[in-house]
């Protein structure tokens, strides 16, 4: 059922590319409507030949408007977006997976063994100085001990996130940091300090453990209000991929990292799951595995009024599918939860979406790709916002006994205002040691009534049952706005941690 709809929608999209005026549906402002079809266009950025693989570990902009990127083989390169010329800034780094420009001649880069500050001392465009900012965490030699970040808060503190090791490979005889055998068992493990932690680095360069319970946190970022979020990948202890709101001292569920908590002295795998479950802070957003996302990456807030109607919401990269994820959050009973939906699905964006940064004009988004032998891509794509308002679900909010959907444009008459236009199922993912989880207790949820506001932009869905702890997975019927545009994304997932 859903597939037929998707196909139909995809065909429409393709048709629309060739016969743009079809979508204007009799509206006389044809030029206006044609323009609205191409709200976003995607172009490839040419990668220099020296960077053989073109797998991007980090992207940022310098104050002078030059793009800076780091690559899998250890290069840091600067790209002049006007002249489209690349210049080598630094090289020889170990698996760099994050970058942050301090100035036009100083760059922070997160490489596997350390956070490093690169400085171009003589201003010739190439760094001479590679100084350690911190290496205050362990390395066992396991390949899966990736290091991500840094991101900076308003006070100048930096935050990085450290992946656990994989039992697909062992540890070396020679390690950096203390070995803790309690953290060694398990599928993904933390045998050396602070694997599976988010770390804080003060402006003075002191590194402090900040929060624990992460598996492979390949996305760390702040929202518009300075709240810290981290994405993590489906696997052991993660029934599906997630995004957490991260606060100091909290534990987020992947258990091995607990061994580095002060005073901890047992193998966490020997504790009852119920005890571990009661310790953890649940994710703000769940990304259903296979149906929606398999590998979420960087988190980036959308600027207001520059990149479509989605200002202040979050974008999350996705490595396995040719799309990004859009996240809309709200605070319910003192904690974040909300919904997630596709962004730019099947519009020419390739896979491997790993790192993202908005251009200086905030109207363009640069997306760096990677694969690391898994499903992904290479190179950099630039997404240009061309103005106009696509017809999309702008927001999904919890209401008294259901949800409120907000559309970006008014619905066409007699569309989207009936219960049969909205099909809900709910399910949850098991918290356990096993890899992943099936959808548990999956059940349809009946829509009892639909109310629509006078402007036809807000729809109130009254549901038969609202059960906290479940994902509410909504399929919306094919529908049009009053200008005749098809609804872009018709599946949205709300993580219902709390009800009103």
């Amino acid at each position: 059922m859903d597939n037929n709809r998707t196909n139909r929608f995809a065909s429409l999209l393709i048709l629309a590319c060739f016969f743009a005026p079809i979508w204007s549906c009799g509206d006389k402002q044809e030029n206006e409507e044609e323009r609205l079809e191409n709200f976003y266009t995607i172009e490839d950025i040419e990668i220099p030949e020296e960077v053989h693989l073109g797998e991007v570990g980090g992207l940022d902009f310098m104050p002078n408007g030059n793009l800076v990127a780091c690559f899998h083989r250890g290069e840091v390169m600067v790209y002049d977006i006007e002249s489209k010329k690349w210049q080598l800034f630094a090289e020889g780094l170990h698996d760099p997976l994050g970058i942050s420009a301090i100035s036009n001649h100083e760059i922070l880069v997160m490489q596997r063994p350390e956070l490093t500050k690169l400085s171009d001392l003589d201003r010739n465009g190439t760094a001479e100085e590679y100084l350690k900012v911190t290496d205050g965490f362990g390395l066992s030699g396991n390949y899966h001990e990736f290091a991500y970040g840094p991101v900076k808060d308003a006070e100048g503190n930096l935050f990085i996130s450290l992946s656990t090791a994989s039992n697909g490979a062992g540890i070396w005889g020679e390690k950096r940091g203390e070995l803790n055998e309690l953290g060694r068992p398990g599928r993904m493990y933390s045998a050396v300090p602070y694997r599976g932690w988010v770390m804080k680095i003060t402006p003075e360069g002191k590194i402090e453990p900040y929060a624990m319970g992460f598996r492979s946190p390949n996305g760390i970022g702040f929202d518009h209000d300075g709240n810290l979020f981290v994405t993590d990948n489906q696997g052991d202890w993660l029934g599906t991929s997630k995004m957490y709101y991260v606060e100091e001292g909290k534990f987020y569920g992947h258990v091995s990292s607990l061994v580095w908590k002060e005073g901890w002295n047992v193998d966490p795998l020997t504790l009852p799951v119920l005890a571990l479950d009661s310790m953890r802070t649940k994710a703000a957003i769940l990304f259903p595995h296979n149906t929606f996302s398999n590998s979420p990456t960087e988190i980036l807030p959308i600027p207001e009024g520059k990149f479509g109607p989605y200002g202040k919401q979050l974008l999350v990269g996705e490595m396995n599918y040719p799309k990004l994820l859009r996240v809309m959050l709200e605070e319910v009973k003192g904690s974040f939860q909300g919904a997630t939906i596709n962004f730019l699905d099947s519009t020419g964006l390739s896979k491997g979406n790993h790192r993202m940064v908005f251009g200086p004009d905030k109207k363009s988004l640069y997306v760096g790709k990677t694969a690391y032998t898994w499903v992904g891509g290479r190179g950099i794509q630039k997404i240009n916002y061309n103005g106009g308002t696509p017809f999309d679900i702008l927001n999904m909010n919890l209401s008294e006994n259901g949800f409120k959907l907000t559309y970006t444009r008014p619905l066409a008459p007699e569309m989207g205002d009936q219960p049969e236009d909205y099909e809900f199922v709910r399910y949850y993912y098991e918290y356990h040691r096993d890899y992943g989880s099936p959808k548990m207790d999956l059940q349809p949820v009946k829509v009892k009534s639909v109310k629509i506001n006078d402007e036809r932009t807000e729809v109130f869905l009254e549901l038969e049952e609202m059960v906290p702890g479940y994902i509410y997975d909504l399929k919306v019927n094919s529908m049009k706005c009053e200008k005749g545009l098809e609804l872009m994304n018709r599946r949205i997932y709300y993580t219902l941690n709390n009800i009103l």
């Binding site: 859903d2 597939n3 998707t6 196909n7 053989h52 693989l53 899998h72 083989r73 250890g74 090289e91 020889g92 780094l93 170990h94 698996d95 490489q111 596997r112 063994p113 350390e114 490093t116 760094a127 001479e128 100085e129 590679y130 100084l131 350690k132 290496d135 390395l139 066992s140 030699g141 390949y143 899966h144 990736f146 994989s166 697909g168 490979a169 070396w172 020679e174 390690k175 950096r176 599928r187 696997g235 595995h289 296979n290 149906t291 398999n294 396995n320 599918y321 896979k351 694969a371 690391y372 032998t373 898994w374 499903v375 890899y435 992943g436 099936p438 959808k439 999956l442 599946r491």
Partner: protein, 358 residues
């Protein structure tokens, strides 16, 4: 009539995996036990990219998922692999129980989705009709590159692996393009016989060395080339760099520098390095003493020299050479057996150590 005794041919390629080929000769090990085709998934690929069976032959096909992601294996009719993959893609969004196996006669048999670490076998009877059948992973996104070929054939002919259109393109290494690095060059990477935070430096004259940023010391040096990083780069970072050449210096002392007393090992703290004409000059602390160390090749003969500068050294310092042959020319100190005692020089104390190859 004997049937085939089955061997595995290892075909070594330049990249991070070794594609295998299940082959057959002319005699069976027994009449009853079918031979086993054992396939693993080291990343987004099968390690066995093709194998041969006789029409009607029964083989046991085992898939062990050695990757971090889920994989399955569908056996498809000749020429239908891509169609099956696109049918499977339409199952995205449906319930997880379908294993991404589309209901079609193009699929002859399958191993369902295996999570990382899982292993499953199926018995597969080859069709009577000769042809090139496929096996493919239909997990979303995998099918375009993760597949292999089953040659159902009475004779033994298969195309050369490099020219076989029925298997994924094999990454071939162009020797001219391989590691065309400009020396001196520096790579932080996983190095053998060193700590996990290591630095490889290649210098003109084919002298290279491994410096350990975890311990702040030179670990070993070699002559004959630099490092081969292709496996590390093509994979997910697991493989260590390969040393190209012959090691002629290796520091196996507990730590080569002692400060204040011959037996006192100062606490090292790595600070970074500064590039000077593409040579790194390492900076670190030994207790409170700031040290810079620069290593350059010798020009007259094969070898290298280490130039140390110790700042604010007010206690004597010993350099322990262990079993290595090193030369030190300094008016500031003298050899005491295997230890060179350096008298403190205050603000800046210099020490040059020369190591010759052979």
């Amino acid at each position: 009539m004997y049937r085939s005794f089955f061997i595995l041919l290892f075909l070594v390629f330049s990249f991070s995996f070794t594609p295998l080929e299940g082959n057959s000769q002319n005699s069976p090990p027994t009449e009853t036990a079918p031979r086993e085709i054992f396939i693993t998934s080291p990343g987004l690929l099968y390690d066995v990219v093709r194998f041969k069976v006789k029409p009607g032959e029964v083989v046991k096909i085992t898939l062990e998922n050695t990757d971090e992601m889920s994989h399955n294996l569908l056996i498809t009719e000749p020429g239908t692999r891509e169609e099956v993959v696109s049918l499977a893609a339409k199952l995205i969004g449906q319930q997880d129980s379908n294993d991404f196996v589309p209901k079609t006669e193009m699929v002859l048999n399958y191993i369902p989705i295996l999570k990382p670490g899982e292993k499953k076998s199926i018995m597969f009877q080859a069709p009577e009709e000769e042809g090139v059948y496929s096996y493919v992973c239909t997990f979303p996104g995998h099918g375009s590159i993760m597949y292999g070929a089953i040659y159902v054939t009475e004779n033994d002919e298969m195309p050369d692996l490099e020219d076989d259109p029925n298997i994924p393109p094999q990454d071939k290494q162009n020797p001219d393009e391989h590691m065309a690095v400009k020396l001196p060059a520096i790579y932080r990477t996983f190095m053998p016989d060193s700590g996990p935070a290591s630095i490889a430096v290649g210098m003109p004259g084919d002298i290279s060395y491994c410096w350990d940023a975890g311990q702040c010391r030179l670990r070993y040096a070699w002559q004959g080339g630099f490092v081969d990083l292709e496996k590390n780069w093509a994979g997910n970072g697991n493989d260590k760099a390969e040393v190209v050449g012959t090691v002629f210096f290796r520091d196996e002392t507990e730590f080569p520098i002692r400060i204040g007393a011959k037996n006192y090992i100062p606490k090292p703290e790595y600070k970074g390095y500064r590039m000077e004409n593409r040579y790194p000059s390492f900076q670190y602390l030994l207790d409170e003493i700031k040290v810079t160390e620069k290593i350059t090749p010798l020009t007259e003969t094969s070898g290298f020299k280490r130039e140390f500068v110790f700042e604010h050294l007010y206690k004597p310092l010993w350099f322990f050479k262990g079993d290595n042959q090193v030369e030190i020319n300094s008016s500031r100190g003298k050899w005491e057996g295997k230890y060179f005692k350096l008298n403190p020089g205050g603000e800046e104390t210099r020490l040059i150590i020369t190591v010759k190859n052979g």
